[in-house]
Amino acid sequence: MAGAAAPAPAGAAPVIELSGVKKRFGGVVALNGVSFSLRPGEVHALVGENGAGKSTLIKILCGIIQRDAGSITLGGETYDPHTPGDAKKAGIQVVHQEFNLLPYLSVAENICFEDMPRKAFGMVDYPTLYAKARKALDAIGLGDVDVRRPVESLGVAHRQLVEIARALMGESRILILDEPTATLTARETERLFQIIAALKAKGVAVVFVSHHLNEVFSICDRVTVLRNGESVMTADIAGTTTDQLVTNMVGRQLAAAMATARDLDTGGRTALSLRNLRHPASPHAEGVSFDLHYGEILGIAGLVGSGRTELLRSIFAADLPLSGTIERDGQPRRYRNPKQAIRDGIGFVTEDRKEEGLILGMAIAANVTLASLRKVSRLGLLDKREETRLTRALGDEIRLKYGDTADAVSTLSGGNQQKVVLAKWLANNPKILLLDEPTRGVDVGAKAEIYALLRGLSEKGLALLIVSSELPELITLSDRILVMSKHRIAGEVARADFSEERILNFAYKDERNHGHH
């Protein structure tokens, strides 16, 4: 379908050319030499693990942050945007992963926000505004959406399409789509691909960032792989295989770690047993039921919004479940707050370590002992010596790289920050560890270390429940994988049957059923 459009001529002068682009944030190197070029009318995939530098690169291209080194030429001239406005003037439009819509304004106002039609005295020319917005929506096949509706009343998928309509309002030479399909159903993704094909035909160069390699293969002409802030590979899609991409994305070191088979031993006692546990976000689902055993690593796969994070939060009582039962070592439990779950031997490594996992401004030691302050205090008085000792001991155990236990945790790299989060829970000697995207924003080296650490924990008998969007990660670590869809378990895959295809089939099952009516 979309891929059928004529590929860009290989000899055409590039619209934009990057070479040796570097960027660091404090001590953390985000980009360490990225080179790539875009030809007019091509769809160029940008792939890489989380934290590989895709977002940073996009932010540089659209003027949100400035590069430290390297050159970017746009149509033969040096391109050095200092504000998002500069980028737009140069014809670079971006649809960001996070929505940048104004929820209480209408669809039309959102679409035309950058260039509102005006009448005398700066008053808004509403008839023109609505007409322009109508045209923009019709162009991307959203004929059924009223442009006067406030954006907050739209579903996620429609919001995504409104974002795209807004980006297409300006003159665009280059359109950057950052994970545009993450929230779309199969049918909506199809529609997006048609839009991309049409843009391509008009000579617009499209940068397509996606985690779904099958999409990359179906609509892109070329692909560039980023790893650890470097561009490690650029090739025509035609001559590339999935294996090649994955190996380049994760690096040889990790590819080796992934290849190590895991000793299957799920014969442990049941640590945690859920029956019809329902999260308030989906009152109509039947709920989630499964058993988690000691010594087992149980993976949870599923699309964004399938209820994976909500599941972990309701086990941990971060959100109170609507109904359902939890049994811990065979005893019924009803946790009313995280404190009770923690006392019962459960730890929760949250998805967003900056918002929920760490207290960034505070010392490493203070973060490590945050959930176990009773261990490093007596009669309510802190024993800072004991705190330092405990932090050092755990730091050694998880191979944490740090200067001083009194340094603020914000001075550490992403991987080491994540290790501090792990240390915080390990300080409590948990029996069950819930992990939500345990390697998000972590570099490849630290990732391999975290994998080894998690394996070690399960060998010690801990029960691990891991949610991850990266299927290779789940396939590497898990003994079993449960696939969630619409806030329930859509399927279970045993280790012997692990394959991305099988897992995705379960994940998309409901989407497909919905696509037919």
């Binding site: 923690i342 207290i359 959930a371 236990t405 009194a406």
Partner: protein, 333 residues
């Protein structure tokens, strides 16, 4: 055995390193205070013992209120009600103290207890409402500001209470080597506040909540309890502040304490505590309160009008926050 010793020694040196860092943070504020004192010492009476006593007396009440305010601001809250609540506590205590037929010592004791209880009552109210319904404390305490003021006027029928026991009045004007006794009491409260914030689990969690409430909650801490506790501590200090006010000025009136909350907030902010919570210290607050007191006194000695003094104090508050932004950048680098 050798390894154990080594570890202990290292741990010790790290603690020192941390302390030095904190001290350096506060050093800037201390230097500002010393600079002010040096500048004003060129005016004839500034360093005279009677003027020093005067400054310390002026600083005392604001200092006591600022200690409580520091706890509230550290968890990311604010308490606008302290001035009105101080007035309410004072009229309650004044009423108790002037009850007919009470032995003076008993009267003063009961009055002190009742002022603190009244302060705790309002602190609990502020904390419970803002924590339970997740209402910004700015709004809740704006409400209790009016409630407490109205209650104080209602209870007294808008009249002033005076003629407290003579011993109580004498206590209020007692000095040791020129240092007012009331200021020494305030210093003891500073020491207690410092201890609680830096040496206890309670203080650690308070900082944690101010920095990142959700992370603290998910680490198993009862955020609700700590929020209510911070406002209650503030209430206790307002109650004590009310007694100190009465001991110094020998009156209790429903119209005292107007604007005290703003002075307390100013002292906390000048002392380097972040309004968004999680960062700051009691020692900083002590220095902040002293800066405000020294500035007010010195400017009067320089012959500036009260109006000019107010303007300059305003500039200093803004300046302090701007300087803090730079300091933040320096510590991050």
């Amino acid at each position: 055995m050798d390894t154990t010793d080594l570890t202990t020694a290292q741990a010790g040196s790290k603690t020192i390193a941390t302390t030095t860092k904190t001290v350096l943070r506060e050093a800037g504020i201390g230097i500002a205070l010393i600079a002010l004192i040096i500048v004003f010492s060129f005016t004839p009476h500034f360093l005279s013992s009677s003027n020093v006593t005067n400054i310390l007396t002026q600083v005392t009440i604001n200092l006591v209120l600022s200690i409580g305010m520091t706890f509230v601001i550290l968890i990311g809250g604010i308490d606008l009600s302290v001035g009105s609540v101080l007035s309410f506590c004072a009229v309650v205590a004044g009423t108790v103290m002037t009850l007919p037929g009470l032995d003076p010592a008993v009267a003063v004791f009961l009055a002190t207890i009742s002022a603190i209880v009244a302060g705790i009552g309002f602190g609990l109210l502020n904390g419970l409402i803002s924590a339970w319904w997740a209402i910004p404390s700015f709004i809740v305490t704006l409400g209790t500001l009016n409630i407490a003021r109205g209650a104080a006027l209602q209870v007294t029928n808008a009249s002033t209470i005076y003629s407290f026991p003579a011993a109580f009045n004498a206590f209020g004007s007692q000095t040791f080597y020129g240092i007012p006794l009331l200021f020494l009491i305030a210093l003891v409260l500073v020491a207690i506040g410092w201890f609680v914030l830096t040496k206890t689990v309670f203080g650690r969690v308070l900082y944690g909540i101010g920095n990142n409430e959700e992370a603290a909650r998910l680490a198993g801490h009862n955020v609700f309890f700590y929020k209510v506790a911070a406002f209650t501590i503030c209430g206790v200090l307002v109650g004590i502040g009310a007694i100190i006010y009465m001991a110094r000025l020998n009156i209790a009136s429903p119209i005292i304490g107007i604007g005290f909350e703003l002075n307390a907030i100013a002292a906390v902010i000048i002392g380097g505590t972040s309004l968004s919570g999680g960062r700051g210290s009691i020692v900083g607050t002590l220095l902040g309160a002293c800066i405000i007191g020294v500035l007010a006194n010195g400017l009067i000695l320089l012959g500036l009008s009260d109006f000019m003094r107010q303007m300059i104090t305003g500039f200093v508050i803004i300046l302090a926050v701007i300087l803090d932004k730079y300091r933040e950048r320096l510590t991050k680098a």
